[in-house]
């Protein structure tokens, strides 16, 4: 059996094993390859930076644990960036699996930076309904979310006395894993209420969001773990996304190698048979 035959019939578990090793090694022994900040990520950073200090910002964390490696670093960095500007955050979640993740970020960073729940930030929790929630939320925050994440009536939260719809909000930050997410927020909230909006999304979804970026419907866009790492660099915070980029690089080179090798074997065997 020739080498080409052997490789073509290779048990896929060897491919799996090599993938695992090539992802694991850079995590244990970082290469510290430099990260360049792309245009969309830079625009995301600038859009948040341009929000006046002390403003009210809405964060919609529309993701679940499956997308956490890409989106949690973005959420961390966005919350940290906004808290450093003394912005007040109203958070909500539209994916069932996500609320505890977002709540954890808010409390952890809030405690770290001396922020007070109810005054500096509020987590309204989850509602089902996708676009319908966005529409209802846009017209009345307290009508859609009568209680917060823990069941406290929002009428008892000082931050919610200052705002009840998008009129008082300076920026919508959407961290999105799919549907419902950025597309729906652009369609239902950004277009209707003309709220400035930025998006951090999974890499899978981000190519579809470039039209919104170019049209101005989105002011900035973070795509995947690479986008999260670029934002971490912009905010001078060395986080898990940055630390994962070496592994990302080695895995991508491996995939490229597999594509090329697979085609070389295919065409050489086709040539030999022909």
């Amino acid at each position: 059996m020739s080498l080409g035959d052997k490789l073509e019939k290779l048990d896929r578990r060897w491919i799996f094993l090599l993938m695992g090793v090539l992802v694991l090694l850079p995590l244990l022994f970082p290469l510290k390859l430099p990260i360049a900040v792309s245009g969309p990520a830079s625009r995301f950073y600038q859009a948040v930076e341009n929000v006046p200090n002390g403003s009210i910002v809405v964060i919609s964390g529309d993701f679940d644990p499956a997308s956490a490696p890409e989106l949690m670093p973005m959420t961390n960095s966005a919350v940290r960036h906004l808290f450093r500007k003394n912005c007040r955050i109203i958070a909500l979640e539209l994916w069932p699996g996500g609320p505890p993740l977002v709540d954890g970020v808010l409390h952890r960073i809030g405690n770290e930076l001396g922020k007070k729940y109810g005054t500096d930030y509020v987590n309204l929790g989850y509602k089902s309904g996708n676009e319908v929630v966005m529409l209802a939320f846009g017209s009345t925050f307290s009508g859609t979310f009568p209680n917060d994440y823990s069941g406290t009536p929002v009428s008892k939260l000082p931050l919610m006395e200052d705002v009840d719809n998008f009129d008082g909000v300076k920026l919508l930050v959407n961290i999105s894993a799919g549907t419902p997410g950025t597309k729906e927020w652009v369609q239902q909230a950004q277009g209707r209420y003309h709220i400035p909006m930025v998006s951090g999304s999974t890499a899978v979804q981000s190519p579809e969001l470039y039209p919104y970026l170019q049209s101005g419907q989105l002011l900035g866009l973070l795509g995947g773990m690479a986008g999260a790492a670029e934002y971490e660099k912009s905010t001078n915070f060395l986080g898990p996304a940055t630390k994962g980029m070496d592994a990302q690089s080695s895995a991508h080179v491996y995939i490229m190698f597999l594509i090329l090798l697979g085609n070389v074997i295919y065409f050489s065997r086709r040539g030999a048979k022909g």
Partner: protein
């Protein structure tokens, strides 16, 4: 009876749909207030839909256990874990505080739900590697274009792309090529798809509202 079972629901869909569309253009309370009621009703009805789905999971898997179908012992695991979550969530986690830090429900979320969901999806990385080797074949010019674009983006969007081409002039560096490709030609195609899909959704929405599309009513043609 036909009026009640078929026609009234269709008229209801039309009325609700038209009111929702009008609320986009007319902020007057005469339109906005009933539209708001509809949104509130839709939110709670969708939530009930999730509960309905879970009840169906119980029913289907319960039947499989009783009839001892394939993998029925594992279905017992499914049913027991589901009922356990329900008991913990409704009676043992402080009601509306069920997701607060330290509750039993939060423990289940952090130690069962999160790791399993995250790991299920992480398996895809391995399968994508296998598929790249076995199935990605560049047989035509179109496939070649796809492959070139994929390789530029894959390498250009990670630090190794910057490292490999850092000594080249800026216009020739891979991250710049990846960025240009994403912002211009890729963008153009996605926008074309978006416009086409938008027109399609508008047409389908109008067909549903006007009662032409009635598959959601699951009418029995016999």
């Amino acid at each position: 009876m036909d009026l009640l079972k078929r026609h009234i629901p269709i008229y209801l869909t039309a009325t609700v749909g038209i009111l929702t569309i009008l609320s986009f253009f007319i902020p007057h309370p005469l339109v906005a207030t009933p539209a708001g009621w509809l949104l509130d009703w839709a939110i709670v009805t969708v939530a009930s839909g999730y509960v309905l789905g879970a009840a169906n999971v119980l029913k289907v898997n319960g039947e499989d256990v009783i009839k001892q179908k394939a993998d029925w012992p594992y279905k017992i695991v499914l049913l027991v874990s589901m009922i356990a979550m329900l008991i913990v969530g409704f009676f043992m986690s402080g009601g509306t505080h069920f997701l607060d830090e330290g509750t039993k429900f939060t423990w289940a979320y952090n130690n069962l739900y999160v790791p399993m969901q995250a790991t299920m999806f992480s398996l895809l990385a391995f399968f994508i590697a296998s598929a790249a080797f076995r199935a990605f074949r560049i047989r035509t010019v179109d496939a070649g274009l796809l492959a070139i674009a994929a390789l530029i983006v894959m390498i250009g969007r990670v630090p190794v792309g910057q490292w490999l081409t850092k000594s080249l002039p800026e216009w020739a560096q891979l991250p710049v090529w990846a960025g240009w490709l994403l912002e211009w030609p890729q963008n153009a195609a996605k926008r074309g798809i978006a416009i086409g899909a938008g027109l399609g959704v508008m047409a389908t929405g109008l067909r549903i509202i006007l009662g032409i599309e009635r598959n959601y009513m699951r009418e029995d043609k016999s």
